[in-house]
């Protein structure tokens, strides 16, 4: 603790000198440690965070990268051979599972994101001005957000069951024929996108609402005085001012949507259904690891996926800088 006290407000060299004066009567090794700790305190304080990042982010990534260059399968403890980029070649040439999965990942993310941001903006605008019963509406809107995605998946799976599900019974009541929802090859992805929108639009609402309430009201009032209608005020005043917040929302939600797993797994299981109709990259990599035990191949898919996420993040961050 003495290290902390003596070091405050000094430069590192001064602190070292002060420490050695202040601890003149202490034993040799302790003095040496104090002096050393003072000299390296910026590293010392950052060490826990660095160890955390190292163990939980850098090491796993490096290990995955290593596995992706080997023919690891069955057990990761089994002898493996270094096979260079062969896994990547296999994956990139795989037009049956990998490329469709890339397509689905991007479709899922793109469609979900657009709907969530548009809907989220609409709801945030509605909630912007105070009204009666506002609290209740806010709670109701936030409810889907607090549910576990797996539970959400199970719930919708029951609702969308083609034979005994509530959705088709409801349609039947108003005379519309039963729909395949999750069970249809063409409709399954759309249905899971709907589920994602249902669950995550509230998060976008929260972010956008925070942005809206921090906006200055003056430009809006000035426009109102000049006779601009609500439509014009939104598109020419509010939206441009909100752009940085919108991009933050897109960034946060986009990364999350890209790596969606639980909803898909809970509704369609391993392989994303019998025709892989909702198999995104995450579901594909999961199947490769846990069902096929092909760790090398799975790691290659994950590294490629990681690159897609980094690339998307980079694009969005650049865009945010440009807007700000």
């Amino acid at each position: 603790m003495s290290v902390l006290n003596t070091s405050r407000g000094n430069t590192s060299r001064g602190a070292a000198r002060g420490a050695s004066r202040g601890t003149a009567r202490t034993s040799g090794p302790q003095r040496n440690f104090s002096a050393w700790a003072n000299r390296h305190r910026k590293w010392l304080f950052a060490a826990p965070a660095m160890i955390f990042v190292g163990v939980l982010i850098i090491f796993p990534l490096a290990w995955t990268l290593y596995l992706s260059l080997t023919d690891s399968q069955g057990s990761v403890r089994a002898a493996t051979e270094f096979i260079g980029l062969q896994n990547y070649a296999t994956v990139l040439a795989d037009v049956d599972r990998f490329w469709p999965a890339v397509g689905r990942t991007l479709t899922f993310t793109g469609l979900a994101l657009v709907c969530e941001v548009v809907l989220g903006m609409g709801i945030a605008l509605l909630l912007w001005r105070p009204f009666r019963g506002e609290k209740w509406v806010r709670v109701a809107i936030l409810l889907p957000l607090v549910a576990t995605p797996v539970a959400v998946g199970m719930m919708w799976r029951l609702i969308f069951d083609p034979n005994i599900g509530f959705a088709n019974q409801l349609l039947g009541m108003i005379g519309i024929p039963a729909q395949p929802w999750l069970s249809g090859q063409d409709t399954a992805l759309g249905t899971t996108i709907f589920m994602d929108i249902w669950q995550w639009t509230p998060m976008v609402v929260l972010i956008l609402l925070a942005g809206l309430t921090s906006l200055s009201e003056e430009p809006d009032e000035a426009a109102r005085m000049d006779g601009a209608n609500a439509f014009q005020r939104f598109f020419f005043i509010t939206l441009p001012l909100m752009m940085p917040t919108v991009i933050v929302a897109i960034l946060l939600r986009g990364i999350d949507a890209l790596k969606t797993f639980d909803i898909l797994y809970a509704t369609k299981g391993k392989g994303g259904g019998s025709f892989h109709e909702v198999e995104t990259l995450n579901v594909y990599a999961y199947g490769l690891s846990f069902d096929y035990n092909q760790y090398g191949l799975s790691s290659a898919v994950l590294i490629l996926f990681f690159m897609i996420i980094i690339g998307t993040m980079w694009l969005l961050t650049m865009r945010k800088k440009a807007v700000s």
Partner: protein, 431 residues
């Protein structure tokens, strides 16, 4: 050693979790042996419920403490993939699926060799175990597990619907088809036949049809046999039944919970499924048709009635566990004749011949089900999925023609292309 195993654990978790669900961290393993603790991991199953209730008895008798982890089937698999892969010693006794994971686990060295243990206790009596289950729990001549639950495919049917339509309980596949047709035509809201439709999930139930039509997944020569004429006929028959007489909006993702729900909601006349799930259909709390359900042996195809007769679950000991003697004590107790009888009375068909021979063993079963089980045990086949290492992948390949047929594609063409893919898969496993 300890440090290395942590590193391995972290490595596996890392490799498998990038962008995926995070893997749970392990609590320190502690010295379980000294503390007299057995760490047991079990799947959610009727059998587990019975054992759970009886564990205090074991703790009292043995002086050991049982730490129980209970998980869903898929989560259980994933846990093993992570923990056993990392060489974790945190599991002593594990409930596993001999036909699904047995070969892979044994090959990877996850399972302790129990050969001397099972034959060491005449009182416990390993010889009492049925042949099929024993075979499935033995890999390369070594016993690696003790079967606890056995299954055969039987025909579930609705007595009332059959009576109303004036049809007999079908004894052959042709009669089954004709009855399904007749009943579905007479009852527009009721399916004539329902069964699993998910590509991977349906494979085990389709297998009995495959055998009854004279086929198998892998031929005697070790080559893929799913392109054979018999297999094509079986694919066409199973898929055709569901396509033509199945539920109206049939999904291609049904495993047993979905198919069972349709049957127990009273929306299907015939249903082929594992006998170990019969309680779902006869329990009034779960089934709207509890008092109207009948059971029969699987109808005979051109090659006779050949349902699978397999151990669906077994208990094994983790090879990395330092607590193997206590683990064995637990298994010995959980699989004793008395416990097996108790479990069987609670509705879990067991693997012990003596329990089946004991009238008390079948006293709680519907009479027709007990008869169907007895018949199936005689002519049953010892596997219900391809016997390979990577079963998950194999199931997806051989299951593809089932789904293709249900959705109206040509069974023969689908079987041919699956046959090529399966042969490639088999070749890759040999490497």
């Amino acid at each position: 050693m300890k440090r290395r195993s942590i590193a391995k654990y972290a490595a596996v978790a890392a490799a498998l979790s990038l962008g995926l669900t995070a893997c749970g961290g392990g609590s320190g393993s502690g010295d379980a042996k000294a503390a007299g603790t057995v760490r047991v991991t079990l799947a959610n199953h009727v059998w587990t419920e019975g054992i759970k209730a009886a564990i205090p008895e074991f703790e009292k008798e043995s002086g050991l403490k049982v730490e129980l982890t209970q998980l869903g089937e898929d989560q259980l698999s994933d846990q093993y993939n992570v923990k056993l892969n990392a060489g974790s010693d945190e599991i002593d006794v594990m409930m596993y699926r001999p036909l699904q994971e047995g070969k892979a686990f044994a090959k990877n060295g996850y399972l302790a060799d129990l050969t001397s243990k099972v034959s060491g206790d005449a009182n416990w009596d390993w010889k009492d175990y049925q042949e099929g289950p024993v075979k499935a729990s033995t890999v390369d001549g070594k016993v690696v597990g003790v079967p606890i639950i056995t299954e055969r495919e039987v025909l579930y049917y609705r007595k009332d619907l059959l009576q109303a339509a004036g049809v007999e309980v079908p004894k052959t596949m042709d009669e089954l088809q004709a009855a399904a047709q007749k009943i579905s035509a007479a009852n527009p809201d009721t399916a004539g036949f329902v069964a699993r439709t998910g590509k991977s999930a349906a494979v085990t139930q389709f297998s009995s049809f495959l055998y009854s039509f004279g086929g198998d997944f892998i031929g005697a020569d070790g080559k893929s046999a799913i392109g054979s004429d018999a297999a094509k006929k079986a694919y066409s028959f199973y898929g055709g039944l569901i396509k033509n007489y199945g539920p109206k909006n049939v999904s291609t993702d049904m495993s047993w919970p979905e198919a069972m729900a349709i049957f127990t909601q009273g929306k299907a006349a015939f249903y082929t499924e594992a006998d170990s799930l019969y309680k779902n259909a006869t329990d009034p709390a779960k089934s709207k048709v509890a008092d109207k359900v009948g059971f029969a042996a699987l109808p005979a195809g051109p090659a006779g009635s050949k349902p699978y007769n397999i151990p669906s679950w077994g208990l094994a000991v983790n090879k990395a566990s330092g607590n193997q003697d206590n683990a064995w004590k637990f298994i010995q107790w959980a699989t004793s004749k008395d416990r097996t009888l108790q479990a069987q009375k609670a509705g879990v068909p067991g693997p012990r011949a003596s329990v089946w021979a004991d009238p008390a063993g079948t006293s709680t079963y519907p009479k027709d089900l007990a008869e169907a089980i007895a018949a199936s045990a005689k002519n049953g086949v010892g596997h219900d999925r391809p016997e390979v290492v990577t079963v998950g992948k194999a199931r997806e390949i051989v299951g593809a023609p089932i789904v293709a047929t249900i959705t109206g594609s040509d069974a023969s063409a689908a079987a041919d292309s699956a046959n090529d893919a399966f042969q490639k898969f088999l070749d890759s496993e040999k490497k």
